[in-house]
Symmetry: C2
Subunit: 402 residues, 2 copies
């Protein structure tokens, strides 16, 4: 066996030398300096009454953000996927049937998580970039009338899809199933009114439109969903993600469940306060404006929006590249020459998409203009010809039209 590294062999590791990236991928995004500063504040113990008060305030702010009165509203201590897994594995028991509205990579992960939990997963594939039709869901319920859950995403980060939910909700509830929505990418950037939209369980992530650091997954479940958890025959497969225990810690008698990171909670509370100062309607409008300006610029560059017209997210723009484009080179040059991160396509769209986020703190004109200028410079070297000056002019036109 090789010898284990000794102290002296490793002291050469220097201090952190970090680039200052403009994070315009699908998340994480840059956060308001107020969030970073609050994350560096002195820690509190996970049962400190001061922290418990801060958590109560954070849960109240999250209810406002989700537009819900659900008591079970809290953050799972983990990434967005931990929120997805918490919601799905608490609601599902072995053998339960879940219908998955699979409109892209992240809704596909709903199937993956549910399958591992022992559920019977009925995958309802939809062509990527398009929303699911209610008729497809209705047919699935005809075939699986006892399905317990229909789950899909409102904002599919892999394709830039803003999926209309009203008809899907109606069909789901007509068949007495639970309506579960992945809002990892959307919450704080597009209208999501959990109570009004009759969503039974909804989960999100901290690092996208909410504008907090990664590491927390806000979730909210209504009485009907809570009842489904209470009616389980067997305990939830996971202690760490057990929502009843988490809810007791967050919203009940604060009984010890795990050691929460106070610093991430400080940042989440601060991010939600910033959102509160802005107001929800204004925040949604801001994301719409800069998303529209970006898309106008992208199209003026001669590039296509991948997503079906009328269903494109403002917060995440999926750009379909022409055959000859070198997607990897575009991203690498943006990163190395401009310190700008954007993302590529996932799964079947690997190499064919650019995915650009305009989320939270980054959803502003500086981001739009900086990126368009950089793309105008980088694209011709990566196989894509552009008309100089057209992109910024097109974005400018959007800004002047509002």
């Amino acid at each position: 066996m090789a010898q284990v590294a000794t102290d002296s062999a490793m002291v050469a590791l220097g201090e952190l030398n970090l680039p200052n990236r403009l994070l315009l991928g699908p998340g994480p995004c840059n956060v308001d300096p107020r969030v970073l500063l609050s994350s560096a504040a002195p820690q509190l113990g996970h049962l400190d009454p001061v922290l418990l008060k801060i958590m109560e305030e954070t849960a109240a702010l999250l209810r406002w953000m989700f537009q819900t009165n659900n008591e079970m509203t809290l953050c799972v201590s983990g990434s967005g996927f931990s929120g997805a897994e918490a919601v799905l594995t608490n609601l599902l028991e072995e053998g339960d049937t879940i219908l998955v509205g699979n409109v892209g990579y992240f809704s596909g992960q709903i199937a993956e998580i549910s399958r591992r939990a022992g559920a019977h997963v009925v995958n309802l594939p939809v062509e990527w970039g398009q929303p699911m039709e209610a008729a497809q869901l209705e047919r699935a319920f005809q075939e699986y009338p006892h399905a317990k859950i229909f789950a899909t995403v409102i904002a599919e980060t892999s394709t830039g899809l803003h999926q209309p939910l009203a008809d899907l909700e109606r069909v789901t509830h007509a068949h007495n199933a639970l309506f579960v929505v992945d809002a990892v990418c959307g919450l704080g950037g597009i209208p999501i009114n959990v109570d009004e939209m009759k969503i039974d369980a909804c989960y999100s992530g901290s690092q996208k439109c909410l504008g907090a650091l990664p590491g927390l997954a806000p979730v909210t479940l209504n009485e009907r969903a809570v009842q489904a958890i209470q009616n389980r025959r067997k305990p939830v497969q996971s202690y760490y993600l057990d929502l009843q225990l988490l809810n007791r810690y967050w919203n009940g008698d604060h009984f010890y469940h795990h050691t929460i990171c106070s610093n991430l909670i400080y940042g989440m509370r601060e991010a939600l306060r910033i959102a509160m100062e802005e107001g929800l309607e204004a925040r949604w409008a801001r994301h719409q404006l800069h998303g529209d300006a970006l898309k106008a610029g992208i199209e003026a560059l001669g590039l296509k929006i991948y997503t079906q017209p009328g269903c494109a997210l403002p917060v995440l723009t999926a750009v379909y590249l022409p055959e000859q484009a070198n997607e990897l080179a575009i991203r690498q040059q943006l990163l190395s020459e401009y310190d700008i991160e954007i993302s590529g396509g996932l799964g079947q769209l690997k190499g064919r998409l650019l995915r650009i986020g305009m989320m939270g703190y980054n959803a502003n004109r500086k981001s739009v203009d900086t990126l368009l200028a950089a793309l105008e410079h980088v694209l011709p070297r990566c196989g894509v010809q552009v008309t100089p000056g057209a992109a910024l002019a097109a974005a400018d036109k959007v800004y002047h039209s509002r």
Copy 2:
């Protein structure tokens, strides 16, 4: 239905006003300001080559900290329990038998997590405060010769036990089972040499003796444990905690698994660098010194150490209170008058113990003297008579004897 809170109803929530606690409970502990500062550095995306390099360095530092050459060494994105659950649910399949050396609350949680995963759990209870005897384990293996795992803790936070592992390891491997050790409380504070101690899988937490922020759970698994995972008949129940996917992200081709919190990673790397500067032997000796000084002071106050003599942890001291003591009042007064957090007993020891941590950045003379002085002041008001001046003198004697 009650109306959802509107923007204007909640803007009253002010900025954070935090107390500056001295965290002397069983964790989290205060961290070095270098860790807090690095946590406030600009974020990086979870696939940024700079972050991937930082993660590689962090994994190398963790191998040094664990004293192992295990390739599968990484942080789970969650609290210590997420590390426990990752290790146990990856190794266990439905119907597998696990023997649990239950020496306190946290080893009890091993049973809870394993049961939820569908394993057959054989609970081997030991009187709290005492270590497990090899003979008890040997008898259990006679009864359950096909047990797949024996798991226990090295540092039982609920009782202050430093459990000797050598005999338990020998028995476990004589029966071809996997030797799994919970080192949430110990890593970085007491000698834990994973390879030398022949531990097959070990997990820890970031916020105790390691001196980083909560929210990461370091784990390490050797080839034998990895083989057990690869031999599974069914996929791991959890996507979020799937160690093969996590290892691919951390130590393989960095394939996307989840959005890691770069800021927590910065802090972990910085905490490990600080440990590296100190050196492992020196770090263990420091924890031993201040743990000893604290215990001398506690005994001079007329209080008893709960743990069996010879098996008491330096990093966590469990103090057994006399019948008439008001445990809650002691902790509340320390918190409100001194901004000092210590902890009480868990489970069957609720109300009967004080649990005091001397871990990581906090394991120093200032912490010891500050706490002893505060206790001398607070205890008489909570039903415990003390001899003035005796505690600090006793601690001083320890400091002068080394």
